[in-house]
């Protein structure tokens, strides 16, 4: 971390979060803890098939069961025409979204919702599900992106046509879109290269893995007012999605967010909210609560895309990359909308490239519809490109960080997908990693290796609103609308305290719903500390201006003669502290601000990892991990470190163990947290972090988003470490024990390093 004297009093300190005590005492109310008078419980009937036509649904026996109050099917959903909605980290066609909430004429994946029930309790609701008769005509299915692109593949969506570089195709297909970014002359670039590396990679479908399952409680009143309580990354997004899906005005929907038990992008799309709403209306306007089981979470909520990625790169002997080409095929799940566009932006983002071409394909398959997952599409892409970059450096006999520095982007360079970089910190971060003791520490012992990789994320600004009121005791109530998913109440309150010149403890933040604050985009895209921080900075400036006026009125002098510094108002030798002035306020001081900042500033990370491979079992152990990242300005360093550590942990799981396993009929086999194997405390070492503070000039305190970058490099860094440990280039995720053992067997068979 930088050690220069800080100009700040609050920013850069590590106070206890405002919601901390509630969360260590079990008092915090999460979505599943909501309880209303007269509340019913809802459950969802899900498809046992990967692909089938629904011939008929007979719910009469379920409705006849004592304690059952309502059953709904897709017929209860309003008809929706094609319309694209922006969810912040992804977009969605609302007709498809409606179809994903409840299958209309076909089920498109194992676990696809078919009907829902409201009953007196969960057990009766589950019994009722077993009484619903659904007749299916099972259709051929396809789970794999490459196979789904074949001309004879089963077609999922009859009306889907390929958007081929902007032109719509004329025949049924599973390829929703083909995009391309192109610059320079690839042929010329590869002709200039002294070494060329080309490899094809495959990555498995993985899940966000938040510990709290999806949930929603709805009350649809007789007057048409719909109330929703749920854990979501964005209450306003839920409101907008519900307005479209249920075809009612946003003004009739009030969404109150509860505490949220993790999201990572997966709690932006609605799943249960519209079902609970429809059940509430049909069950006589009683509140209905729905909570998913873990099996439902894994089978039917947003995993992120499995992918095939081909990367070809060439470099001159002096270490300059001369050409780079990539083709990315991302599985979107049952409906279009994989993060392939983001993958195309991430894949070569750290490098200056004169000759480059990137092709991306968004392909539907019979898997759950992909949702955003922390730097959506980024980990897949960096796994491929950063492995090839490592191999190029090896073939040139160059240090991998030196090779990256030789090609690293800086201010004024243009990314392959268009945008020009403003002030970024890739070079500083690479240098910080190179000079970290970890990079040069001796690593001895058999089958051990060290790998490095870099990663990029765009970050986002989005729209934020906030309101603050000065209390008579000098404290300030802060009302914000950004879901606090990992400590943002603290980082937002700290920025307001800094702006006002008052102690952190004097700012009392509250996160409220759609009825209590102006519009806020979702907590996603690593935007909250940046964007909502901007909003409270504006709020703070307005409050200071008003308080200065009040001080001037008190002294009976023109406002220009009152000075303000560090929360003290002064005039001609007299002074009033913020608190003293607050006590003299006759009319309250309140201020609001709404912002939509654009200069959010992307981030880069460089990770170093040491691994040991057990060549008998194929198990990979992480011995040491260091993550360096350009974080702009760390408002609350502990929570910034936490973002890096958490991203690394998810990346380690993605790299080594996590994957969806389906049987030959397309049924998910590992929908439990025993078989979908996420890292435990035993699987990880301490994760060292290096916070490189290259201030973002587009923010009053220099903030850049930090949450997503750290999940991008781990898979590649670990693959590169495995190569140095056992001499095998792993090109498939997860690099689980069976794949390591198989790769070692191939290496022995070939007698050479793969």
């Amino acid at each position: 971390m930088t050690t220069t004297a800080s100009p700040y009093k609050v920013i850069g300190t590590r106070p206890v979060r405002p919601d901390g005590v509630d969360k260590v005492t079990g008092r915090a109310i999460y979505g599943a803890d909501v309880r209303l008078p007269g509340m019913l419980h809802g459950k969802v009937l899900r498809s046992p098939h990967a692909h089938a036509r629904i011939l008929c649904i007979d719910a009469s026996a379920a409705l006849a069961l004592r304690g059952v109050h309502a059953v709904i099917t897709a017929q209860d959903m309003p008809a929706i025409s094609d319309k694209i909605a922006d969810l912040g980290e992804s977009t969605v066609n609302l007709r498809y979204a409606s179809n994903n909430i409840l299958a209309h004429d076909k089920v498109l994946y194992y676990g696809h919702a078919v009907a829902a029930v409201a009953a007196d309790n969960v057990h009766i609701a589950e019994e009722a599900l077993s009484l619903i008769r659904v007749e299916y005509e099972v259709l051929p299915h396809v789970l794999d992106g490459k196979q789904a692109m074949a001309p004879d593949a089963p077609i999922l969506l009859d009306d889907l046509r390929t958007n081929e570089l902007g032109k719509l195709g004329d025949r049924p297909t599973n390829v929703a879109e083909h995009i391309r970014h192109q610059r320079g002359d690839l042929t010329k670039g590869f002709a200039e290269a002294d070494v060329i590396v080309e490899r094809t990679f495959h990555t498995a479908t993985v899940h966000q893995g938040y510990i709290e399952p999806q949930n929603a409680t709805a009350l649809w009143n007789e007057d048409g007012q719909l109330f929703i309580w749920c854990s979501t990354q964005g209450a306003f997004s839920v409101q907008e999605q519900l307005a479209e899906l249920l075809q009612i005005p946003v003004s009739r929907i009030i969404v109150t967010p509860t505490e949220i038990g993790g999201g990572f992008g997966g709690k932006i799309n609605v799943y249960l909210e519209p079902l609970a709403a429809l059940l509430s209306r049909k069950a006589g306007h009683r509140p209905v609560k729905m909570v998913m089981t873990r099996a439902e979470v894994l089978a039917a909520t947003g995993p992120t895309s499995g992918s095939y990625i081909r990367v070809k790169m060439g470099a001159r002997r002096d270490g300059v990359i001369t050409a780079a080409e990539a083709e990315l095929i991302y599985e979107a799940g049952a409906f279009p909308g994989s993060p392939v566009g983001a993958g195309c932006g991430v894949i070569f983002a750290p490098y200056r490239l004169e000759n480059v071409q990137i092709d991306g394909y968004d392909v539907v398959v019979n898997r759950p519809k992909a949702a955003a997952y922390r730097a959506p599409g980024g980990t897949n892409a960096a796994f491929a490109s950063e492995t090839v970059v490592d191999e190029l450096a090896e073939k040139l006999g160059m240090d991998p960080i030196e090779f990256r520095l030789r090609n690293a982007v800086r201010e004024g360079d243009r990314r392959a997908d268009g945008p020009e970089y403003k002030r970024i910190g890739l070079i500083e971060t690479l240098e910080a990693a190179r000079s970290h003791p970890h990079y040069t520490a001796p690593l001895t012992g058999k089958h051990r290796g060290r790998g490095v990789a870099t990663g990029f994320w765009f970050n986002w600004g989005g729209k934020s609103s906030a309101t603050a009121t000065v209390n008579r005791d000098g404290t300030v109530n802060l009302i914000e609308g950004s879901t606090d998913i990992g400590g943002s109440r603290a980082s937002i309150a700290m920025q307001l305290a800094e702006t006002l010149g008052i102690p952190y403890e004097d700012v009392r933040p509250q996160v409220v719903g759609t009825a209590g604050v102006g519009y806020n985009d979702v907590t996603g895209g690593s935007r909250t500390t940046f964007g909502t921080g901007w909003a409270v900075y504006e709020v703070g400036k307005k409050i200071l201006a008003e308080m200065r006026q009040r001080a001037a009125d008190y002294w009976g002098v023109p406002v220009e003669e009152v000075s303000v510094a560090d929360g003290v108002f002064a005039y001609n030798g007299e002074s009033l502290s913020f608190r003293e002035l607050a006590g003299k306020l006759d009319t309250p001081v309140t201020a609001s601000a709404s912002v939509h900042p654009q200069n959010y500033g992307p981030g880069f990370g460089v990770h170093i990892v040491d691994v040991e491979v057990d060549v008998e079992t194929g198990k990979v152990t992480i011995l040491r991990y260091t993550a360096a990242q350009d974080v702009g300005k760390a408002i609350h360093p502990s929570y910034v470190e936490g973002q890096l550590q958490g991203g690394v942990a998810q990346g380690v799981g993605w790299a080594l163990n996590e994957e969806y396993v389906y049987d030959e009929k397309g049924r998910l086999l590992n929908a439990t947290l025993l078989d979908y194997r996420m890292p435990t405390a035993l699987d990880l070492p301490m994760i060292d972090t290096v916070l490189v503070e290259v201030a973002n000039p587009g923010h009053p305190y220099g903030v850049r988003g930090v949450g997503e970058v750290p999940i991008v490099p781990p898979a590649a860094a670990i693959a590169n470490a495995i190569y140095r440990a056992i001499g095998v280039r792993m090109t498939e995720l997860p690099m689980s024990p069976p794949r390591i053992v198989a790769a070692l067997a191939r290496k022995r068979q070939d007698g050479v390093a793969a």
Partner: protein, 156 residues
Amino acid sequence: MSSKVIVTTTINGEEFEFLCEPRQSLLEVLRDVLGFTGAKEGCNNGNCGACNVLLDGVLVNSCLVLGVEAEGRTIETIEGMAAGGRLHPLQQKFLEHAALQCGVCTPGFLLAAKALLDHNPDPTEAEVRHWLAGNLCRCTGYDKIIRAVLDAADAV
């Protein structure tokens, strides 16, 4: 519907009597019948530890215990961890170390860590990691949780 059983149990030092269906888990009873919602349901099959409570001093996943099994037993939940208006040292250290992000796994981790320190007041990092391997956290990468527990052990 099966008939209900009267169960008497002690929770956080206070006696409770409740009606329980034989099929209801202790987790369901705690949350839905008695209102102890600090125990969380993350998986309902013993893999995540979010529902951890202490049953006669032993760490259990309350989703794998039946409500009727609570008869005559002593249960400790997260709601009882801060005694006499003061946070337990583990709770305090979790706050100081920023050992939680979303916080939904936190009650389970705190009770698991308490069970560890109750029988091993001076654990090594390896022992803490081994003991807490039954609790999943998806946010923190465990680093700050482990540090908080080690620090709390020093403080106790």
